[in-house]
Point group: C2
Chain length 516, copies 2
């Protein structure tokens, strides 16, 4: 089977634990050689579960309420192929948002829409957090060998110091800067704070912010309302049937990527083609189902629920963080789809090879064995001609491959198992396909774990606790601003504001004092 | 106890599980409130182990062969206080290297040493991998709110594509660029490849590379030899008694940091002061020992060996990666100090808060509970005046604190335990102290685990496997370059070069074909 067919098509020999697929004119291999599992047997042993996952995924794609906790459909697969969307209304919404993106982007690039100072927009700030930011960050970083049409900056945190640093970098070019604020619900506090911080920054420089601000949000959301009232430059839609962590192919990801000049058609094409391949009901020909089966094997047979992710390519180092969010937020749940108690998850961490070999591979090989590894390799080494780095024919790229394959071997010698994924090169098509592959693998695996992959109730809990703390901080701020010159103990302050949580009050008092 | 003394000194009440220390004019607190452990009792139950760790650490600091596998002393604590070095010769070596750094840096900054084009050096490339790079990256990133004296670039991987991207960014300023290559042994393949790649880049632009290259390496190493023969601009020392992952206070970290304009005296002062505090034999007054005790508790009592690291500050996001390397390479071992079989480790991963709340906190709160969390908070929010982001007194910084404290609370409600570390602000002194704190905590904990924290035999194994693969790639490269126009199967190629590893040969053939 290793006599590879270079023309394409699917060739698979599950005995050798390798699947090769040709997707969107690019070649991918998924290699389970370094897993001690007879996959033919294992697949057979869970065939009912596999069939169930396929069925549920079909139902999801056909428009079922696949996220029952939020009473929502789950439609990210429709974004790249509107012909499979369940209603004409959805098809129309997606198609018209793509037109809106293309039209707006062209006007920005040609200068038909100019900044408030009358010049072309040259900088782009993408302000979002979590899922609505990571897809953009991953793809933009992967394509950074091209000449972007605008200089990108990201604000991805509610850290005032971090926001100041970005603004300082942009410095006197703020008047040529476009800002996209992304919040599906339009009520994310972090995004609200980013908007207010940037309004102050623009106003301080006497730049009319509304001519620079764009909202990406659901229709009727609080953010849309503000954007309309304040007459922002534009508003782009997203929908309740697109979750944050799978939103990269909606305006959330496509608008900023298109503004950089990255081909969103190629991204969508790659994802669409991978969707076709991963709808295949023959497990051994379906890379997404094979990944899901492998994760199931690790959980059940090896009691391992941690996947170290090691792309051997600087431009893919963000993939680990992208995947961390997609996987952990989708799979880390405490309720089954029927509402019974469970406890699931798949931890993902990693940065890039060969760098990380000098960070934590020591522990991977010799320390606690609580993980498996996902290696990623790209065949094409570089754009320019490679110098030879030894006495003969060897290049730096040859070494990169040898470090990856060598590390995989050194780990397997010590019974540390791994998956190896290769791809031809990095391009929008390939990245689109890669994202679609993992989106569906996570979807399948959630059905195997019997959890809802599309809700995130645990995130809410932190927000509620934070709001209580904000109320307390507010009381402290007001109280202390009136007692500037009086020495008070924390006990006295707590008593005055009616709190008995001395620990919390002392933290908030210290925080106040450090900043006033 | 929460009636904090703002003047300083150590105040501790272990019943409340909080230690407050004043170190180098900065205040730190370490808070174990969200751990369900009676620390007084627990410390008492392991008091022999604690005493043993203190003794062994004393011996290490006094010059014992604390890394017996490599027959080496372990001397990173001497780097910040030469008065405690075991010999005058070592004291002299450290002192003179500091003088060399200060002198050279001044000459670069004043222009007494100019680039080969006769202009001032304005860019700095730091080329290293793993421990010799992460300390610099962490500190430079933490201090990026200042105006650096040179623009920093890092090459931290053997990825030719990544190297090309850095060179493209520098573009026509290569003739004003200084490059520091860091390799303690002077024989790291990745660094050799970086040198060769950059020699080609400089030569292509007809720039004499030797007037731009600097080596940081041990005396007598292969890299020193090359640097001397080729007449590089300078060579700075490091020593066999400084491991890569604790080398940041040797020339490895101090030289590039000084070149950026970061105060290395302040860094050393912070570390030195924290060393004094963490030599205290009273456990409840010693933050490094307390951290080590907490890790021990998690391992023994909760069977947890994963620490999620969440600094709520963009400028500390690199801390998670720095700590990952320090902790995992030091503690992930398969042999006790007596050579018996064991299996140890402490997994570290994380990026930053509140961003990561929207990535994986869902799994942390509701999914598998195989971790504890280390939260980091900085009291000082920002350099500029904060706008108010609600109707009353609340700032973005207040929200950042509330998100952190709220997330800690939401996790603890579900029995997810955590440590909370606060510091006043980010400065070289504070960062120096922070690094020293964790260096010693890791050192103590390695004694508790009874492993050598200062070797890394598992890293070697991957290198050996990689060399075998390079030999095979070489045969394939030569063979295929002679058969350009002949169709061959992988079996035929394997047979011709005398290999029976069809899987490996097919990968290397594909890699060759993608790049020729």
């Amino acid at each position: 089977m290793f006599n590879f067919d270079y023309i394409g098509g699917i060739i698979v020999n599950i005995k050798d634990n390798l699947l090769k697929i040709c997707c969107a004119n690019a070649c991918f291999t998924i290699d389970f050689h370094c897993i001690q599992c007879d996959f033919e047997k294992y697949i057979d042993s869970i065939k009912d579960l596999v069939a169930y996952s396929f069925e549920e995924m079909d139902a999801l794609e056909n428009g079922a309420i696949a996220n029952p906790d939020e009473q929502r459909m789950v439609g990210h697969y429709w974004l790249r192929d509107t012909s499979v969307a369940p209603t004409e209304w959805i098809t129309w919404q997606i198609d018209s948002s793509l037109l809106q993106i293309t039209d707006f982007t062209e006007k920005i690039h040609t200068g038909e829409i100019l900044s408030s100072s009358g010049t072309k927009f040259r900088n782009l700030i993408v302000a979002g957090i979590g899922g609505s930011q990571l897809g953009f960050q991953f793809i933009a970083d992967a394509m950074k060998n091209m000449e972007y049409k605008m200089t990108p900056y990201t604000i991805d945190n509610n850290d005032p110091d971090g926001i100041e640093l970005i603004l300082r970098k942009i410095n006197d070019q703020l008047s040529e800067t476009l800002v996209i604020f992304i919040s599906k619900s339009g009520s994310t506090i972090e995004i609200r704070n980013m908007i207010l911080e940037l309004q102050v920054a623009f106003s301080t420089k006497k730049i009319p912010f509304e001519k620079h601000f764009i909202a990406v949000t659901m229709q009727g959301s609080p953010m849309e309302k503000v954007a309309r009232e304040e007459n922002w430059l534009n508003v782009f839609p997203t929908w309740d049937w697109v979750g944050g962590r799978v939103s990269v192919f909606s305006s959330v990801g496509l608008l900023p990527l298109a503004l950089l000049g990255i081909s969103i058609n190629d991204l969508l094409f790659g994802a669409r083609e991978m969707d076709k391949i991963t709808r295949n009901k023959t497990v051994i020909n379906n890379p997404a189902m094979l990944l899901s089966v492998a994760w199931k094997y690790f959980k059940e047979e090896r009691k391992i629920t941690t996947m170290v992710t090691l792309p051997y390519k600087d431009r893919l180092s963000f993939f680990s963080r992208y995947l961390q969010q997609l996987v952990m937020e989708s799979l880390g749940k405490n309720k089954t789809r029927q509402g019974e108690k469970t406890c699931t998850g798949l931890t993902v961490y990693g940065n890039k090879g060969s760098t990380d070999q000098h960070a934590y591979v020591q522990q991977l090989r010799e320390g606690i064995c609580d993980f498996f590894t996902l290696f990623l390799l790209v065949k094409k080494d570089r754009d320019n001609i490679a110098p030879i780095v030894n006495h003969s024919t060897i290049t730096t790229g040859d070494y990169l491959w040898a470090f990856c394959l060598g590390t995989q071997k050194a780990l397997f010698e010590k019974n540390r198992e791994s998956i190896l994924l290769t791809m031809d090169k990095i391009s929008p098509t390939v990245i689109g396909a890669l994202i679609a592959l993992f989106e569906r693998a996570v979807g399948f695996y959630a059905y195997m774990l019997n959890v809802n992959a599309y809700n995130q109730p645990g995130v809410e809990a932190g927000k509620i606790c934070a709001e209580d703390i904000i109320s307390l901080q507010e009381k402290i701020n007001i109280f202390l601003s009136q007692k500037k010159y009086i020495e008070l103990t924390v006990e006295e302050i707590a008593q005055s504001i009616g709190s008995d949580d001395l620990r919390l009050v002392s933290y908030l008092v210290e925080h106040y004092r450090a900043n006033h």
